[in-house]
Amino acid sequence: MVDFIVRVEDLRVWFPVARSFIDVLRGRAKLYVHAVDGVSFFVREGETYCLAGESGCGKTTTGRTIIRLTPPENVVSGRVLFKPKKEVYEYIATHVPEAIVEEEGAVDVYRVPSKYIKPLRREMQMIFQDPFGSLDPRLRVRDILEEPLIIHNMGEGHEERLERVIKALELVKLTPPEEFIERYPHQLSGGQRQRVAIARALILNPRFIVSDEPVSMLDVSIRAEILEILDELRRKFKLAQVFITHDLALARYVCDRIGVMYLGRIVEEGPVDDIIENPLHPYTRALVAAIPEPDPENRKKLRELRIKGEVPSAVHIPAGCRFRPRCVAFDENAWVQERCRAEEPELIEVEPGHRVACWLYSKA
C-alpha cells in the first residue's frame, strides 16, 4: 500500500438539477449533474498531483470536495481519506471515532461533523483561482492574514499574531511587509493579491493544499513568479498538493503525477512526463496535441486534432464509455466498439504507475 496523505476513493459528487413545481407534480425524475462520477486517486506526502482536463470536467469540484467545501449531501458515494498530524488524528479519534479509518491511519473527511472539523481545517488549505474574489475587499492585508490565526486561536495576543503575519508576508516575498500590511486588496496588483492568498493558506502550517488554477487569472508575466513562490514554499514545508489546471504544459512544469479528467472521471493517470510524452487515452492524446508548439519551425505543420463533437451534458452521461461520442479511435477500431458501447472502462495499469481507462488497452 502506498504511503498517501490524501486518498480519494470512488468519489461521486452529484448536484440536483432544480425542478419546477410543475415537473414535481408530473412526477418527473430528479436529475443530477454528475460533476464527479467515480474518481479515485491518492497524493503522497510532499508530492504534487495534477488534475487536468477541460472546463466542466469536475476537477475543481474534486478539489473542493477534498477540502470539504462541497456540502456533504452532494457527496453521493466514496470517501476522502486524509492523514492529519498526530494531535489532530487523536483529537478526531476521541471525539468522532467513527470517522477514523484505522487500517490506513487516516480520517474520513466526510464523516467528521462540522462541529469537529476545525482542527482538520488547519491541516488542509486551498488557494483559489480568482485572487480578486478570494480576498474580502473590506479588510486590510493584516486583517485577512490575521483572520485564520484568530479563528484557530493561534498566537498569544495581537502582537504575536502580527509577528506571524509579517513572517508570512516575507515568505511570499511581499517585502517590506509594513508597506503592504495596511493596504486593502484593491490597492494590490493581481500577483500581490495571489501572494496574500498564498500567505493566508500557509499561515496555519498546513500539510496539504489544493491549488485551484492559482495562476490562470494572472498576467502571463507574473505567472512564473507566483509558481516559483508556490514551488519554493512547497519544498520548504514539504507540502502535498493537488494542483488543478487545464494547461498541460503548466502541469508538466509543476507536477509529479497527473490525472486527466473527462466528464467527472479520471481517464488516464501517471507520472507527468510519461503522460505527455506517451499519451495513451484518445482524449489525452487530443489534449497533448493541443499544447502550443514552442518551436517556430514546427508551427507551420498542420496538426490534426483527433477529437470530434462537443462535451455532452453532465446530466445525461453517455452509456458505456463516456468519451465514446467524441472518440476518433472508436470509429477507427471496429473491434472494440461493442465493449465501448456496453461498458464503462476501468483504469488499467499498462506500464508501472501509468494507468488508462480505455478498452483499446484492455488485455482481456
Binding site: 488542509m124 488549505q125 486551498m126 483559489f128 483561482q129 474580502d136 483572520e147 495581537h158 493566508r200 496555519l204
Partner: protein, 518 residues
Amino acid sequence: MARAVTARRPSLKERFRGVSEILTEVRGQLMGKIGLGLIVFFVVVSIFALLTIPWDFYIEWNDRKLWEEYPEVVPPVWVSHFGVPVAQHVSKIMSEPTETMLYKRPKDYNGITLFGYTTIYRLRYRLKDPAFPQGILIMFEDVAINNFTYRGKLIRPDSISVGVHVLLHRPDGKVLLINEPTPRSLTEIASAKTVRFDDAYVANQILAMYPGTNMTKDYATSNAVKLAFGVYEDGVIKPLRGTYEVELIVTYLARGVSLEALKNVIEAGEIGVREVKMVIEGSAYGLMGTDSYGRDIYRALLYSFPVELVIGFIAAVAAVVIGLMMGVISGYYGGWVDEIIQRVIDIMGAIPALPILILVGAALQERGASPWMMLFVIIAFLIIFGWGGLAIIVRSMTLSIKSEPYVDAAKTLGASNIYIIFKHIIPQIVPYAMASLVFSVPAAVLTEAGLSVLGIRHNLPTWGTVLADARDYVYAGGSYGVWWWILPPGILMGLMSVAFVFLGLALETIVEPRLRRR
C-alpha cells in the same frame, strides 16, 4: 528588517471606520449637510423638551379642567409683531386681598350693597390694542373650610354666608357687575371654585348703558364680553382702549358671630378664601396659540419631539434589524429556513396592515387602553409589517455575497457560519441597511400621524394628534383660519421627513457609488 511595524490594537476610529466613512460622505454634500443639521435640531429640541416638560404631560393635556382658564382657539402672541391687534392675556394669583373692610351695616359700593367682613382683590388691565379679551375668570385656588369655635359654640363653614361680586371698572368710568351675586355658603364656594362672566346678567346692564339704541337682548347676550370691553356705535362694537380694573369683592357674614371675630379667623387663614387666581383671557396666547379647549399648542408640539423621534427610531431600528437578520439568515442558510421566512414575508405582504391596525386600534380605544399601550401596539404593527421588504433585498444581497470566493476561503480557514455572517456578510449590507433605516424613520412618524388623523388616537400629544384635533375642530364647523393649529405640526412633520430623506439621499451615494459626482 521589517520589525519596525508596531503592533497595535485597531483604534476606536478604525473599528467604526464604516460609520465615520459614512459621516464624511454625508457631510460632503449639501443635502447631507441640511439633513444632518435638521436632525441635530430635532435631537437638541427633544433634549430640551425632556428637560422642561414632565414625561406624564399627556395626563395634564387630556384633563380639560386644567385648561379652562386659557383662551380658546387664539393665535400666538407674536402675531402682534405683524400688526394684528392683541388683547393681552393676564393671569394673577393673589394670596392677600388688596384691601379689607368691615361693614357692620349694609353699605352701597359702586351700585352694590356690601355687608360684613369684606375682602377686595383688584387687578389692573391695560387694553392697548383695539382687540377684545375673551373673558374674565375668577378661580378660588385655595379656600379654607375649617370649623371654629366662637364663645363656646362650634361654627361650621356651611353656616358662613359668602357674597361674591366681580366688578369691571371701565376706562370710561362705567362699572359692570359681571356675575349674579347670590349669597352662598363657604362650602359651596369651595366646591364651585370658579366664578364666570355671566353673559345674560351683564347683557341687562349693557342694555341700560345704551338706552336709545335698537340693541336686542339676544345681541347683547351673545356679545356680552365684547360689549363689556367695547363701545357700541351704529351697530358695531369697537374695543374701548384704556385701563380696566377687575375687582373681586368677597364678603363674609355668619349669624351669631361678631364681625371682628370672623375677621380674625379669616385673617389668620383658618377659614375663608386664601388664594384666588384672576384671569383675563386674552385674544392671543403663548408661542403657538391654543386649541379649542384652550390647550397650549406649543407645549404639545414640544412634547412631541422626543415622542416622535422615539416612535420613528424604535419602529425603524427594530424593523431594519429584524429585516437584516432575517434576510441574512434566509439567504445564508437557505433550504427550509429560507422557504419559511420568505413565505412568512409573502403572507405579511398580503395582509392589509392598515385596516387591521385601524380595527385593533378601535377595539383598544373602546376598552380604554392607556396611551402607552396604544403607542406600543402602533409601534409593534409598524415593526411587524415593516421588516419584510428589507429582508427580501438583504436575502438577495446575501445570496450574491455568499457565493464570493472569500466566503469559501473563510470556510476553508475553519470559520463558523456565525463568524462568516458577522465578519464577511453583514458589513457589506450595513450601508444599505443604514440608508433603509433613514427612510423608515419618517415613514414610521408619518404613519403614526396618519393613524391619529384616521381616528386611532393614542392620546399622547403628538403632531399627529394636534393635527387630528384641528381636523375635528374644522369638521365641527370651525374656521379653516386656525393656521397656528394646522401649520406647525404639519411643517414639523414635513421637516422631519425632509431631514431623513435628505440624509437618505446623501447616503444613497454610499450604497450606489455610481451616483457619486466626485
